[in-house]
């Protein structure tokens, strides 16, 4: 931390208000301190002290729950959608000509998916319209060429694996 930053940190620490509980054996006093002097204080009854403690615990718990439920904590939060989209893209690739290279296949799919505009009847439409609908309803962007090739290559690898497993031993 720089000297100026250090100074402002200590200045903030000095001016920061902090609550302090004091008990002289007769009464519980909740005070707010700024630096080394009291700026506000209140004597608490037993029941009020317990009520305030309850409110503090409830508010702190809400804060912690909010933090744990809303803050992203890494990982791919759309992995399910991504898996659904990629599966639909691979299914879509099977509809295209078998003689196409991976690059051509990827380019054709990108073109079709980009041009696709969903309609209400697509769910009952042709297998191509149904697959395009499945891809679009994930709400994910259309993959670029490189990513599309990678997605399709997974299917190719899987098929290759299946074929080699099925092929008889020499």
């Amino acid at each position: 931390m720089s000297v100026a930053g250090n100074r402002s940190y200590h200045a903030r620490a000095r001016t920061r208000l902090r609550p302090v509980i004091s008990d002289d054996g007769r009464e519980i006093v909740l005070s707010v301190y700024a630096a080394d002097r009291t700026v506000a204080a209140m004597t608490l009854s037993v029941s009020l002290a317990v009520n305030i403690a309850g409110e503090l615990v409830a508010a702190a718990s809400r804060r912690l729950q909010g933090a744990s439920s809303t803050r992203p904590r890494g990982g791919d939060h759309r992995s399910d959608k991504r898996a659904r989209r990629d599966e639909a893209l691979r299914d879509f690739a099977t509809l295209l000509g078998a003689d196409l290279s991976l690059e051509d296949r990827a380019a054709q799919i990108i073109g079709k998916v980009t041009r696709y505009r969903p309609t209400a009847r697509d769910k009952q439409g042709s297998s191509e319209r149904r697959l395009l609908h499945r891809i679009a309803e994930t709400g994910l962007p259309v993959p670029g060429e490189r990513q599309m090739r990678r997605i399709l290559a997974k299917q190719k690898n899987a098929l290759d694996g299946q074929n080699s497993a099925l092929s008889p031993n020499p």
Binding site: R16, L17, R18, P19, I21, D23, G25, I28, L30, S31, V32, T38, V39, A40, A41, M42, T43, L44, V46, L48, A49, V50, I52, A53, G54, E55, L56, V57, A59, A60, S61, R62, R63, L64
Partner: protein, 65 residues
Amino acid sequence: MKATQVNVGDDLAVAIGDRSARLSPGEAFRLAERLIRQATVRMIVEETARSDRRARGREHRVVTN
């Protein structure tokens, strides 16, 4: 300086009168713990004093009878 009202906000700001101190969840739990500890001590002290008074009252009645 003596205030008459304490409020705890959802943002964990403890307001006493027109002054408020914002706490982290950890600070809030610590403050709550201290409040409960001291309230418990107060309760025990008051309960002991009450039973002492009751016992002294019984002794007084026995003596006067």
